[in-house]
């Protein structure tokens, strides 16, 4: 009886792990951010950035004092699934869930594939793609996994 119970528990455990890997989608969120030294954004559609992300950006060696949220897109991807997220007129990203909390993110600028990065992205971590923008400002695309640990 006890051996049977152990075998059943082991099978259930394996099923849960498999189901979690195979069927539970990875909730990904991409945020387009504009960095500037101005106190106010000239675009009224820009929103103040989430404090936790702003704190992480401030901890990096960037020259900008203020960060504004321009656009936010999210997607749920099961393992081996991909999605294309349009962040602005010229900027898109393609996200692939490679399983085991690993993502493959491709930056597409003006329709051209600019670069691809593959890395684990557990909840709470950020993958940031960034570059220079006009008038000494900067753009960022922050990709993160939405989970109970993320904030």
């Amino acid at each position: 009886m006890s051996i049977f119970a152990i075998v059943v528990c082991a099978l259930l455990f394996r099923c849960v792990i498999y189901a979690e890997d195979r069927f539970l989608p990875m909730q990904l969120e991409a945020i387009l951010i504009w960095g500037t030294n101005d106190e106010q954004s000239p675009d009224p559609n820009h929103k103040p950035l989430e404090p936790s992300i702003e704190a992480k950006l401030r901890s990096q060696p960037f020259k900008w004092k203020k960060y504004f949220e321009v656009n936010r897109q999210s997607t749920n991807l099961v393992a081996k699934a991909a999605a294309k997220l349009k962040m602005s007129q010229e900027c898109e990203i393609e996200v692939l869930n490679r399983g085991d909390s690993t993502v493959e993110v491709t930056l597409i600028g003006k329709g051209q594939r600019v670069g691809t990065v593959v890395q684990p992205l557990p909840p709470g971590e950020l993958l940031i793609l960034g570059g220079n923008a006009p008038n000494m400002t900067g753009w960022f695309v922050v990709i993160r996994q939405r989970g109970k640990d993320s904030q």
Partner: protein, 169 residues
């Protein structure tokens, strides 16, 4: 009449009005003509009268109709006693509890196993995240060698910087 006993039974049946008209006439003739038959008839008549007087004097007659009287006794025999009722209810309750236990126990065990497995799965996922942190590998595929990739371990941030001049600069 075949024998004395047969004669006795016939006379008794006559007094009980259990004979047909032909047999009753035969017995009436017999009671008139035969001495022994008269003696038996007197004996039966005398005892019937005695019994009737006893019923009247001592009130031995049934106060209610015969069928009702026996129906009451039958119902008292067949009706279950209070102990039977209580013990039956207890047995019924025990059987129900046993049935519920038989049904609920396996479901509870399976539910507990599932919950434990889900918790273990979550723990394993967190463990995997930690392991993947220790085996953290970043693969950057870019055409431009000027693209910078670096990792801030303390903040859990990976940055990929594209140092192109901005439009118009």
């Amino acid at each position: 009449m075949k024998n004395r006993m047969d004669k006795l039974l016939k006379i008794q049946a006559y007094f009980d009005n259990e004979l047909g008209p032909a047999e009753a006439r035969e017995i009436e003739q017999l009671l008139v003509s035969e001495t022994e038959a008269q003696r038996i008839g007197d004996f039966i008549h005398k005892h019937r009268e005695t019994l009737r007087k006893l019923d009247l004097e001592h009130g031995y007659s049934l106060p209610i109709p015969f069928e009702v009287y026996w129906a009451g006794i039958r119902s008292r025999i067949t009706q279950p006693s209070m102990i039977d009722v209580i013990s039956g209810a207890i047995l019924d309750f025990v059987e129900r509890v046993r049935l519920i236990r038989r049904t609920v126990a396996p479901v509870t065990v399976i539910a507990v196993c599932l919950i434990l497995c889900i918790l273990a799965g979550n723990a394993l996922t967190r463990y995997r995240s930690r392991v993947s942190n220790t085996k953290f590998e970043i693969v950057a595929l870019v055409k431009d060698p000027g693209v910078v990739t670096y990792r801030d371990w303390t903040q859990g941030v990976t940055l990929m910087w594209f140092p192109y001049p901005a439009n118009g600069e």
